[in-house]
Symmetry: C2
Subunit: 418 residues, 2 copies
């Protein structure tokens, strides 16, 4: 897996998250300069893809597909256009490219740009696909012997989330109010969540529509790319509301995405086989090739005025079900999938205590608070900033995701004050 060298020096530097092999897709504004447009991260720069297309330096379809500040129109063009984009960008940006002089005016320093959601989310589905996470949570709630629900090893358990909750990294997150019930009281009360949590997930973006059931292989072909995803969760709201129809307001406050879509093609070299199957999967969900990814992930927690502390390290290969299997299952009932559907992987936890992807697991439901450099945490406190980080590591380069970050603001004092 060699590095593809670029004439942009920073893209060739060891440890750069955005080498020419990556080419992740975002939407950016430059203060006092541009309205939102499509951009590509390369080294320490953003390449103005909307401008390049408009200047005739990128040709992806017979009409412009990057005119709106969203990558949905390119997704809708299909896999051939996805490949064309990467091929044309690679030609323009590789070392010694003769187009360098005409491309240079379309580069902008990344650190001066504001980043926005890179696509319009059609619908958002969240899964529950890490065996370690499901076992940890199940053990806390139902005891070790009943930890896994009977269906868990047969289907990717998922629920419909709330697309309107999706925000880009950097958006502040207001601690929610909700109906809560203590263990020792008869009746619930309405109060700010006291057990507000993060969830480390990978998000898969559906780039093509489907009608009717599709195979796992077809599903894999429909996936446009991946982002990091923090599924903010109010555990106390969840505990009271989730029976019998699942999480609802506990998960509707916010869902943060990293700002760059890492295209599936950039992750091809990092495909790995599924974990060992505890029970065989039915044929329509069976593994048909390596569809998991070796992506190192971690969670950084920064209390206000204190240095950041890495509280979890894990890997996307810990997922039991691949996004392709989740998407295939999603279509079994004939459910229509649309361009821009977002699938959250579910919290990614590994086998050890230090690999857990939520505070619920890290503090074991609050029983064993963790230390973050001298202060302790069971759940998130006001002023805490959570940052998810991810990168697929090759010998010569890495495919970085860019941070997925959000700071917790105090709950509104009176949510109904006007």
């Amino acid at each position: 897996m060699p590095l593809i060298r670029s004439w942009i020096a920073a893209a060739n530097a060891p440890g750069c998250p955005f080498p020419l092999n990556n080419l992740p897709l975002g939407v950016f504004t430059h203060p006092n300069r541009y309205g939102a447009r499509c951009g590509v991260a390369i080294g320490d720069q953003i390449l103005d893809a909307t401008g390049l297309e408009s200047a005739g330096l990128l040709r992806l379809s017979d009409r412009p597909v990057l005119a709106a500040p969203s990558w949905n129109a390119l997704m809708a063009c299909g896999p051939r256009a996805w490949g064309d984009l990467r091929a044309q960008l690679t030609t323009l940006l590789q070392a010694d490219a003769p187009e360098r002089a005409s491309v240079e005016p379309f580069l902008h320093p990344m650190d001066a740009a504001d980043l926005h959601l890179p696509f319009s989310v059609a619908e958002y589905t969240d899964f529950y696909a890490s065996l370690h996470h499901a076992t940890n949570v199940g053990t806390m709630f139902r005891g070790a012997e009943n930890a896994l629900p009977p269906n868990w090893l047969h289907i990717p358990i998922g629920y419909n989330g709330r697309a309107s909750s999706v925000v880009v990294s950097g958006t502040d997150i207001r601690r929610p109010w909700g109906q809560l019930k203590g263990r020792d009281t008869q009746t619930p009360h309405f109060a700010p969540s006291a057990r507000f949590d993060l969830e480390l997930e990978l998000g898969a973006i559906v780039g093509q529509p489907s009608q009717g059931p599709i195979t796992v292989a077809e599903a894999d072909d429909m996936i446009f790319g991946y982002v990091l995803l923090n599924d903010w969760s109010a555990r106390d709201i969840q505990a009271w509301e989730y029976q019998p129809l699942g999480p609802f307001q506990a998960k509707s406050t916010a869902t943060t995405l990293s700002p760059w879509i890492v295209m599936r093609a950039a992750l091809e070299p990092f495909r790995v086989a599924a974990p060992r199957r505890v029970l065989p999967l039915l044929p329509h969900l069976a593994d048909c090739g390596p569809m998991h990814y070796d992506i190192a992930l971690d969670v950084v927690l920064e209390a206000e005025g204190r240095p950041p502390v890495t509280i979890s390290r894990t890997n996307a290969r810990e997922l039991y079900y691949s996004a392709a299997q989740q998407l295939a299952h999603h279509t079994t009932s004939g459910c229509l999938m649309r361009v821009g559907d977002l699938l959250g992987s579910g919290t990614i936890s590994g086998p050890q205590a230090g690999n857990r992807g939520s505070l619920l697991e890290l503090s074991w439901g609050g029983e064993t608070p963790i230390d973050i450099g001298g202060v302790s945490r069971s759940f998130l406190e006001d002023g805490d900033t959570v940052t998810l980080r991810g990168a697929a590591m090759a010998d010569e380069y890495q495919i970085g995701f860019g941070p997925c970050s959000g700071r917790v603001l105090p709950a509104l004092k009176d949510p109904y004050a006007r």
Copy 2:
């Protein structure tokens, strides 16, 4: 509640579902004549509202809001424009209106038109708000003593549904495949659903956006109108998948809406108080006026080649939670609501066996199949047509919803054949 008389004779006829008091909003095409446009049902005609606006006979905003075939743009204009629309239509259509000659060319016979979804569904949430339904289902699944989950009398239980599943009345519904597990087998199998069901619901359409928690009174003001809603449900898929995160593929095949949005204003005379509260609601969800509706509802089942049979009669006033309470609860966590969000009431069942809004309840889980004119039904068979009907009845007129209908097609033989 007097009838407002119109110069369209059919609108004044006793039993007409679309008198001038109603003015429900749809989207229609006329074969060989028009692309889809906004229309209003009046008597046996559809008034071409897009054409009226374009001709300057309707003025709802400083720019056209009915140019696209959807009522979302009008919704976004807010309650004042909603009132303007009704006032202007009433002026144009009432008996002796001087505008009659200029309006007449915009009328088209309803029976020659095709009807489409009247709005673009942003997101779809489904609730579980009938005490009789929740008690029936809970009794079947958990026994009479544990029928109601502990949260049920304190919050409107709901889950996020799948907006892409929403179709207009008249759309055929393909029986879904799914992962199923029999009681006596160890492992699941993949097969067509054998327990495919209907659910009689009312759908509320959110016409204004919100950020942050809103009160019940504010929520009521945000509701644009109502439709009938059939939440097709595969009970065998649901039974296997729904723990712990709720219904998913069981409810993703299709959700059928009646084609006409009955505006909230048309239902004002039919407001009724909430049912007796078994337990007091917390202040943020408490009743603050009559926000339920007296709407007679029934379910008609028609087996292929047989006459239709009414299998259930109930009323929307049987709902324990109003749509306003559901919407207020929906926003407690800070969940953003958007124009075009759809809230399903949950299955509406009344106290008697003949008032049940699903076959699951009518046949008591298949134990006591019902008779539909010489053939029996536990769940839906291929070729069955389900029609929901609804009307609010005044002495001199009724506010009809138009039928919400769908026919069950056989499952695909091999869902993966290409």
